[in-house]
Symmetry: C2
Subunit: 373 residues, 2 copies
């Protein structure tokens, strides 16, 4: 019989061997942290109370045939996730939430992937995770290897990810600009809006008008992104005031509106929309913490006939998954050429994810919100 | 000096010579009747008081180089003309109104036309008229020679005219059906709606649901046009009731809505619209005698994002003038093959034009309203 102290000693040796020899030499086991939804939220501002951090381990020996083990390097927080938090949304209480992430493959049992490959994907928000083979056909996962290296991985949740494909598809295929037309973009300092404006200016020579809140963002949108006019929406509280502000910079009206905000923005844009005008509805962040059914807008259908106008809601999936367009190659090329501008607000650690998410709704973020894990 | 009786005799001889020798032999002069707008009408039902008949003569010697002299054989009355009657509309008090007509060329000084040619056009509502050369580029005028003979001239204001091109463009290019989808069409017994349903059924194998008013129209739409389901809208007076009626025949919702009516129809259709659903707004006849600004509909833009829905107003001009599609050839072919069905309500004489126009708003017309001049 061993003395108690020997037992402790013996256990410590096992732990030492496990941590330093078995674990580190073969790296089969990873401590992973995940964000889970603790509580749905119907109306109101999301708080730390709605989420929790869960820790667990992942064993690389558990990767099935056709699967890979992914290390998530950066995770995204995006306004649309607010809708997922509602009781009728996709997030399930007690389960890991899903968002867009970018990372690198650590182990692969899949012939399409090798260790070191970089990817972007719509995946669980867990720092390490096994992607089983069936998931590749069920969610958007795209390869970034050959386009960027690890130091640029945040592009995978920005210009080369959801925001990039949303701007690309929404502008090019939904709005379909003609050379020299006038476009109005709300949330112009945001991850999507800024790219829309830059593309509209540089690809189509559009007259580009943005709206955003506060002096710092106005300056950024005008000087760095090169918009022709910027409206500080915080100065206006009614449809009439915003319509007037828009008319001052676009006296002959607008041909296109890229909608990220909703509410009075939608109606002011509709008031200003010319013959053959188009509205691409990407999101309506001003509604996200409110009761949707009270967030309606008014349209007069017969006016849409005479003016041959179109209002179209869209999501990025078709472009992100290359069913339409050539998003990844085109956006990568334009980024390398300096056409596109990367602008990020960085949060450090998965623990900061909720704060990064909140920053979208209190306006403290600028550009793409990136959580570095 | 001639006696007074001789003078009368002499004048009568001149008249005889003019009418029977000069006029009839060379046919240079035509008595023409036109419909002029007497009085704009903002809100309310159009009456005989709003219009007047004007008579004048046209001399074929006055045809300029590049012009033609047209005999209008049939004239159209269409719901959209109600908007033109408003003070802000295109009709000018004291001036001839413009509508779609079909007729034949009597004299031509234009190398593209010969006497006997048949045409359709958006033209003044005058029984005889000179079309000056510049008008050919300013309005829609299309040749029907080779497709139909004079006995079928009413097709030029129906299947081979505005209603045909509206149905064609609105269905094929605006709604863009996928095989087997479900479409809902209001004013299904009308000139446009009936063609939309027939094309959706026969070209795309759609499940076709129509709405119209009264037993006679319901029977026509179901039995003659072959719609799968018909809703008699006169039985329903609220959005909720109409939504429920639509749900009974389309329990899984609709993929497309072809809007001719507006009001509760629009909202019931929107309530029933599925993911990737489209609404083509062609007209909203229920609003036409009302204050437009009170005829708004409510949309919830964020719902259009998640559902990737589209609402699009359109007019037929691009298809009618062959900038898009192959309307005239396609519709002619389908008519000859028996795919399309001609259904007309005939009014005789230009004097009956106002009555024909009223029939559109009191529901007494069936199919295409044709005024034979």
């Amino acid at each position: 019989r061993l003395a108690p102290q020997s037992q402790v000693y013996s256990i410590n040796i096992y732990i030492y061997i496990y941590n330093n020899l078995i674990r580190n030499s073969n790296m089969p086991i990873y401590d992973t942290k995940s964000i889970i939804l603790k509580q749905h939220l119907s109306i109101g501002f999301p708080t730390e109370e709605n989420f929790a951090i869960e820790t667990s381990t992942i064993n690389s020996d558990d990767i099935p045939n056709g699967g890979i083990l992914l290390q998530v390097l950066v995770a995204s927080s995006d306004p649309y996730l607010r809708g997922r938090m509602r009781p009728e949304g996709d997030f399930v209480e007690g389960k890991v939430i899903k968002t867009f992430v970018s990372g690198k493959v650590l182990h692969s049992n899949n012939e399409n992937w090798v260790a070191g490959d970089l990817l972007g994907g719509s995946l669980p928000l867990s720092s390490y995770q096994i992607i089983p083979p069936e998931l590749f056909s069920q969610t958007a996962i795209w390869k970034l290897t050959g386009l960027i290296d690890e130091s640029e991985i945040s592009l995978g949740i920005g210009i080369l990810g959801m925001p990039g494909s949303t701007a690309y598809g929404g502008l090019i295929d939904v709005l379909r600009p003609n050379e020299g037309e006038t476009i109005f973009i709300s949330a112009a300092a945001g991850a999507v809006g800024s790219l829309v404006g830059i593309l509209a200016k540089k690809l189509y020579n559009c007259k580009v008008i943005g709206s955003c809140g506060g002096d710092e963002k106005v300056k950024l949108v005008k000087e760095k992104y090169g918009f022709d006019h910027v409206i500080d929406y915080k100065k206006y509280s009614t449809v009439e005031e915003l319509t007037k502000a828009l008319k001052e910079v676009a006296p002959e009206g607008i041909d296109m509106y890229f909608e990220n905000v909703g509410g009075i923005h939608f109606e002011a844009a509709l008031n200003s929309l010319r013959v053959r005008g188009r509205i691409a509805v990407c999101g309506t962040i001003s509604d996200y913490n409110s009761d949707y059914s009270k967030s309606f807008s008014k349209i007069i259908p017969i006016k849409m006939v005479y003016s041959q106008q179109r209002i179209e809601g869209f999501m990025c999936a078709e472009w992100l998954t290359h069913k339409k367009g050539n998003f990844l190659q085109d956006m990568h090329k334009w980024y390398r050429e300096g056409v596109l501008i990367k602008q990020e607000t960085i949060f450090n650690g998965i623990e900061s994810w909720v704060a990064s998410f909140q920053s979208l709704f209190n306006g403290t973020n600028i550009g793409k919100t990136v959580v570095v894990l």
